[in-house]
């Protein structure tokens, strides 16, 4: 059946509000009598808290309260684990150490909160923070991953024997045997480093405990309001229905705003209850650099075994993963890395050993990509090196190793981030890669244009990088769809929204079932009063999991509509159609009834209804996938490097995505554009520089560079649809797809552009400076 709404370039329902400043963000919340919070944070990355004197701060006019860990008494406890711990299997080590609301004994990273001041204004609160006298005994800090595991290293957590947070080995086939048979074994050390998510909106929270109604309302920039509500209720000794968490419009999530139970997220509601006053805290940018989670620090020692014809026989990877000072997010990121190390390739023999390491740095939790870019970076770098060594074209070596279409569902025989077997549900990889090659004109560029430009002395290079993205993981989401008497449709779902276009794509799904205009579907996301079952927006799962839950609810409502209309129009259901907000008889369109009238009839004020009848045209349904759907894509680009400044001009940028059924190409392309922008930052601009003492040296946008409009290329997006068999809509996620392959793509294109240099890029992020250094080193080693 052809679709009327799904797959159409529908403009976004939410944009008029967003573009005219009518959308509510947390900082827009103003409540009479509202107080403001500011935090005292540690300058030291590692220090013992000797004493703290807040008496002067408490005396400052306008200060209402100052709290330290001591003042919290029994309420002081570490945050909850954010994901399930790994199964207690043989050879799995996992030490759970969760972040604390305020430092009690020891500071474990620079920026950790020591005390909070609540005052009449933020200005007063900030001044009072400076009144606090705190005595900290500086301790040696651990910043480097390898050093932190060395014998005798300072311990981040004194009760552990070492800084090892977790250890896990995953095996498939027999790598050692494969290595014996190999014609070529490539061994390299590859390093990936940290970046920030740098969302446009920092974190923020407003908590309002109403003593008289005994009700707590919290506006929070979270991606997962329902888990936050449940956790707050449990921690504060309230019933879940006494707590309402609202995640209004949020200016970018990207992972660090997941169900984090950040210290501030627990403290502000707690303080609001203590003081019976509404309290607001809005994170400033510098706090964001220190206190909001980050990602991507890993050191890999890898081996790739190949046959002479370029077939991969096996892959072995031993790596360290930096989790920062605590590890509330368990093994999600390193497991994602392991699941993407084999990329889209058919690899029979695989061994991966990860050691997760505590360091005196800001916590690490998923940031858009969440371990996947690291895995893809490794395998793609190794294939580029292999292609050069074997004298095989970089596209050809990939083509030879792609998982063939008939192999799906492809069982990888290792476990994924949910500790379930990793299965790639569906895919047809070569046509996607082929489309990217055609769009960028690969052959023509390599054979004609590049030689011509090189002859002119230009450093032009091409890169082409395929990748997979595991998306749409469980456990479940739900939704309630209601046809109102006005004929408009109201939908409530639990996931939060941070710019993904949910108000439009979800509306399209409903419109497809109920035949109403997309603009007549009103969506509410992220308000626990409207819908209180679900987990949240992360892991590229909104459109897949919540989308299919909405589809399921709308399908049930459609059945209810047809059943009732069949009676009223005295026509069999099969002959009815839902069009233009009406139910009408297909052959005689004037014989019809509007959805609004039906909704009224479904909710009569008088008379009797049949036993078992539910009132209204409403349904609630849930969707939980058997396992995550895996999307595929290929990015390609042509660059020119200025040999003087090492600045890179992107001449063409192509992405071809296969994320199953496309709900709205316009929104999909927007997601890709945002992802690519973040990927370009990850690849060539954004790196958090920590010194060996755990001090962050570039905590401002003057020093930490994010791509701006001038660094953004025009992106051409192609679509291929291989529907997922795991859900009715056939969708796969795409939220992180734009980001994942970019560092690998940059490295490939840079090496290709600097064809006359023996450059081998084994690290990310790069920068113009760093590329210059690498070239100087290359020249010295010649």
């Amino acid at each position: 059946m052809t679709k009327k709404f799904i797959g159409k370039r529908v403009k976004r329902n939410e944009d008029p509000r967003l573009l005219t400043g009518q959308a509510l963000f947390v900082d827009d919340v103003e409540i009479p009598g509202m107080l403001h919070a500011a935090f005292l944070r540690s300058d030291y990355a590692h220090a013992r808290l000797l004493s703290i004197d807040v008496s002067a701060a408490r005396q400052r006019p306008g200060v209402v309260a100052v709290f330290t860990a001591e003042d919290m008494g029994e309420d002081w406890q570490p945050g909850p684990p954010l994901v399930s711990p790994p199964p207690t299997a043989k050879d799995v080590i996992f030490h759970s150490r969760r972040q604390v609301p305020l430092v009690k004994d020891k500071v474990r990273h620079a920026g950790e909160a020591i005390a909070v001041v609540i005052a009449e204004s933020r200005y007063i609160a900030e001044d009072a923070v400076e009144d606090i006298l705190v005595e900290l005994e500086p301790l040696e800090a651990v910043s480097d991953l390898e050093k932190s595991l060395q014998e005798g290293s300072t311990l981040v957590h004194d009760d552990l024997e070492s800084n090892l947070a977790a250890h896990l080995i995953q095996k498939k086939g027999d790598y050692e045997a494969a290595r014996e048979k190999a014609d070529l074994v490539i061994t390299r050390r590859i390093v990936t480093d940290r970046g920030a998510a740098a969302a446009m909106e920092n974190r923020g929270i407003v908590a309002h405990w109403d003593e008289k109604s005994q009700h707590l309302t919290v506006w929070d920039t979270t991606q997962a309001p329902i888990p936050i509500r449940n956790g707050l209720a449990a921690r504060l000794g309230l019933s879940a229905n006494q707590v309402r968490v609202i995640a209004p419009f949020v200016g970018g999530g990207f992972g660090p705003k997941m169900m984090m139970f950040y210290p501030e997220e627990m403290l502000i509601p707690w303080a609001s209850m203590k003081l019976s006053r509404p309290i607001k805290w809005i994170e400033d940018r510098r706090e964001n650099f220190y206190a909001t989670t980050q990602e991507r620090g890993q050191n890999h020692d890898v081996e790739l075994a190949l046959s002479r014809d370029g077939h991969i026989l096996g892959l072995k990877d031993v790596f360290l993963h930096d989790t920062g000072a605590y590890d509330p997010y368990g093994l999600t990121i390193p497991l994602n890395t392991q699941c993407h190390l084999m990329g889209p390739y058919d690899i029979e023999n695989f061994t991966s050993e990860v050691s997760v390491v505590f360091t005196n740095k800001t916590l690490v939790t998923p940031v858009r990509g969440a371990g996947r870019p690291q895995g893809i970076f490794i395998i793609e770098r190794l294939l580029d090196i292999a292609a050069k060594e074997l004298g095989i074209d970089q596209v050809e070596i990939r083509k030879r190793n792609l998982i063939p279409p008939e192999a799906f569902p492809y069982e990888h025989k290792i476990i994924d981030q949910a500790f379930a077997p990793l299965v790639l549900d569906s895919g047809n990889y070569w046509p996607v890669m082929k489309k990217a090659l055609d769009m960028i004109g690969y052959d023509q560029f390599v054979k004609e244009e590049q030689p011509r430009l090189r002859a002119e002395g230009k450093y032009v290079g091409i890169g082409i990088t395929p990748f997979i993205e595991s998306t749409g993981v469980g456990p479940y989401e739900g939704a309630r769809v209601t046809v109102e008497a006005s004929g408009k449709v109201f939908v409530a779902t639990g996931v939060g929204t941070q710019g993904q276009g949910h108000f439009t794509t979800f509306a399209q799904i409903v419109a497809e079932q109920l035949g109403v205009a997309v603009s007549d579907v009103r969506i509410v996301t992220g308000d626990t009063t409207e819908f209180h079952w679900g987990t949240g927006t992360f892991a590229s799962r909104g459109a897949v999991v919540a989308g299919n839950a909405i589809h399921a609810s709308a399908s049930i409502v459609r059945q209810k509509v047809l059943k009732l209309a069949c009676k009223i129009l005295e026509t069999p259901e099969e002959e009815l159609e839902l069009e233009c907000g009406l139910v009408r008889v297909a052959d005689t369109p004037h014989k019809s009834i509007s959805l609004g009238e039906l909704a009224l009839l479904a909710n009569p004020l008088r008379g009797a209804v049949e036993p078992g009848t539910e009132p209204g045209l409403e349904a609630t349904a849930y969707f939980g996938p058997q396992y995550g759907a895996t999307a595929f894509g290929t990015h390609a680009m042509i660059i020119e490097i200025d040999p003087e400044t090492m600045m890179i001009a992107i001449k063409r940028y192509i992405t071809v995505e296969d994320c199953g059924t496309v709900l709205n190409p316009l929104i999909l392309e927007g997601q890709i554009h945002g992802g690519v922008s973040m990927g370009i930052g990850n690849a060539y601009y954004e790196k958090l520089h920590f010194d060996e003492n755990g001090q962050l040296l570039n905590a401002s946008f003057a020093d930490y560079l994010i791509p701006s409009a001038t660094e953004m290329p025009r992106i051409e997006v192609g679509h291929v649809e291989t529907t997922s068999p795991l859900n009715e809509l056939g969708t796969k996620g795409v939220g992180e797809a734009g980001t994942i392959p970019v560092p690998a793509l940059f490295s490939q294109a840079i090496e290709n552009a600097l064809y006359n240099r023996e450059l081998e890029i084994l690290e990310t992020p790069l920068s113009p400076n760093r590329l210059f250094e690498l070239l100087v080193n290359e020249e010295k080693s010649r």
Binding site: D43, Y44, A45, A110, E130, P138, R286, F289, Y290, H689, D691, N693, Q695, L696, L697, N698, A699, S700, A702, D703
Partner: protein, 206 residues
């Protein structure tokens, strides 16, 4: 962060040594020093006002002089903290006699910084610290010259150390110097001046 360098004073080593070990003289060397007190045999405590780019504030701290071998060398260990962060470090100072009654000072050390000073000031701290050291030693040299002259002429010589404002202006000039070396910056500066002129003209006409 590593700090190293050398400086030639226009005076004999004994004079330089005495002045380097005099807290009052040291205090004038780094204008912005609000106080420097001798609290132990070789231990000073004090407060200094520092401005590094957008970061300004008072640091309070202590300085310990050890491994003293007058008038040749000593080790300085110091730490300070204030609202903008903290500084901690140690270094060696060596004095070498030179011809013409001159003295060569060589210094090297390792400094740790933290807080806002590190996270926001990092980009400027290298230039600022080099400049502050250079300016400070320059001031010290003026004091030495004054003392040498006084000795030669056997009378009191008037010497006024520069004010904090003069000192800050000199440091700022050094920082701009780094930028000014780029041609682009010059053009930018000219462009900005031109725009300001246009605005002034426009405002006065309007």
């Amino acid at each position: 962060m590593k700090i190293e360098g050398e400086y030639t004073f226009d005076g004999p080593r004994e004079v330089v040594w005495v002045l380097v070990r005099d807290p009052e003289v040291l205090a004038t060397c780094l204008p912005g020093t609000q106080s420097l007190r001798l609290v132990g045999e070789n231990e000073y405590e004090g407060e200094i006002n520092v401005r590094i780019g957008p970061i300004a504030g008072v640091f309070s701290g202590r300085l310990i002089v050890s491994d003293e071998a007058p008038p040749e060398s000593c080790t300085l260990t110091g730490e300070g903290k204030g609202k903008p962060g903290f500084v901690k470090g140690s270094g060696n100072v060596q004095l070498f006699e030179q011809a013409d009654n001159k003295t060569l000072m060589k210094y090297d050390g390792e400094v740790q910084i933290g807080g806002r000073l590190a996270s926001v000031g990092q980009r400027m701290i290298d230039t600022v610290s080099k400049s502050m050291i250079g300016q400070g030693l320059g001031v010290l040299n003026e004091a030495i010259k004054a003392r040498v002259l006084a000795r030669a002429e056997a009378k009191e010589v008037e010497y006024t150390p520069p004010s904090e404002t003069e000192f800050a202006a000199a440091v700022a000039k050094d920082m701009a110097g780094g930028l000014l070396s780029s041609k682009l910056f010059l053009w930018l500066a000219l462009a900005v001046i031109a725009v300001i002129l246009v605005v002034i003209v426009w405002l006065s006409v309007g």
